[in-house]
Symmetry: C2
Subunit: 244 residues, 2 copies
């Protein structure tokens, strides 16, 4: 499976994705699920993907191929808005689903996948979209500034407790990593390394990309510190007493 | 939806279930999802249910009806072992699925449900089973002493972190309530009150049943204390710094 989270906050955008794919427990691999589409000083788009790897890779390949082929038709590097970019990703997803769906459904294999698409195109504020397997999508707002795809439930409570639109992006990154740590503790199909990207509003650069491995001292510190803090917090609360 | 958890620990058995059912957001009701089958001094069986309410109620009604009808054929109050009781629940579930399934699938409604069945029959140790929608089941062991059904993922990380076979049942109850609190924070379809039952090995009594409402002072204490402890633990860990 997969776990990805993206946040569009007042202090910046944050993207994080794990990199484990599995087709059965004996076919576990590492694939990056974070893709960048950049025009220096003009746009940065970040695409996170979950679901059928063949489908998500095909979507990304077609988006890249069409962007490099020429600039006549609309492509991911020339669409005028993030909204149009989300439409383009949705349309490309529908195209692949139509092409590969019938053969896959004969073998009862799920063709579906989901995307988080975020970033900024000059002339607009940063925007974040959650693109469904059907190709339609919703946009994050100040009330709901984050989206998750994939194995989202294990790591949702901690985000719901500490992140809002005004959370500093450094704290949001900390929360995202704790959310990944909780997910990986309960679900083997989500695994390190984690790709993380932070983007400052109106920067239009490549953002700061970091790949967090098992050896990352900060991740180790969070992993150990959070586990210990939880056990201490748990021990500090009184046990239940029965009313007999 | 629903959230239920049951644990078979060295120190006793613990059962907990929420009580919210919903058929769409405008049809939210309160139904107890914890049922007891007891023969004083001989057996206590506790059945937790998740899934289609019509199916789970039918299974329970048939189990009760057949137990009170007479003692000739095998019923939930006379089967000689917990294993046989799990078979009986699975068979009854298959019977309802066969009866109601075709009509429901015409309307694309899911007939399926899951059960946790635990308890003790004299002559055996306490046992706990997780009964799948297909009617087959698995049994908890010392390595994996707990099961969840329904909206299980939000509340799984905290159980994975603090509960094992040797956890005192008072701490397991505390953990279960925190697990419910996290689930209810992230998922509206799980709601108070929580039914909780604790059973001491070889007691063969009715166990101690408690219904935990919003006004329950211990639950309020956990809710507030845990939320605050998490925020403090989060704040105590350093924010992420980017390697630029």
């Amino acid at each position: 499976m997969t776990y990805c989270v993206a946040m569009n906050l007042a202090s910046g955008m944050l993207f994080a994705s794990d990199s484990r794919t599995n087709a059965g427990v004996d076919h576990v691999s590492t694939f990056r699920k974070m893709q960048f589409f950049q025009q220096p000083d003009e746009r940065l788009l970040v695409l996170l993907s979950a679901g059928n790897l063949a489908t998500t890779q095909s979507v990304v390949s077609l988006l890249r191929q069409r962007a490099s082929a020429g600039r006549d038709e609309q492509n991911i590097l020339n669409v005028p808005s993030m909204y149009d970019a989300a439409c383009l990703v949705g349309d490309t997803l529908r195209e692949i689903a139509e092409r590969d769906g019938p053969a896959l459904s004969q073998s009862k294999i799920e063709v579906g996948c989901s995307f988080l698409l975020g970033g900024q195109i000059r002339g607009e504020a940063p925007r974040l979209f959650n693109i469904y397997p059907q190709g339609n999508f919703i946009e994050a707002t100040q009330d709901t500034p984050y989206f998750q795809i994939g194995e989202a439930k294990y790591g949702k409570p901690i985000i719901d407790r500490v992140v809002n639109y005004h959370t500093p992006v450094e704290d949001a990154a900390k929360c995202a990593l704790i959310s990944f740590d909780s997910t990986m503790k309960s679900n083997l199909s989500v695994g390190l390394p984690i790709d993380m990207l932070v983007y400052d509003k109106d920067d239009f650069g490549p953002g700061i990309h970091q790949r967090i491995t098992e050896q990352d001292p900060y991740f180790q510190q969070l992993h150990t510190g959070w586990g210990q803090a939880l056990r201490e917090a748990f021990a500090a609360l009184p046990p239940m007493r029965w009313k007999e």
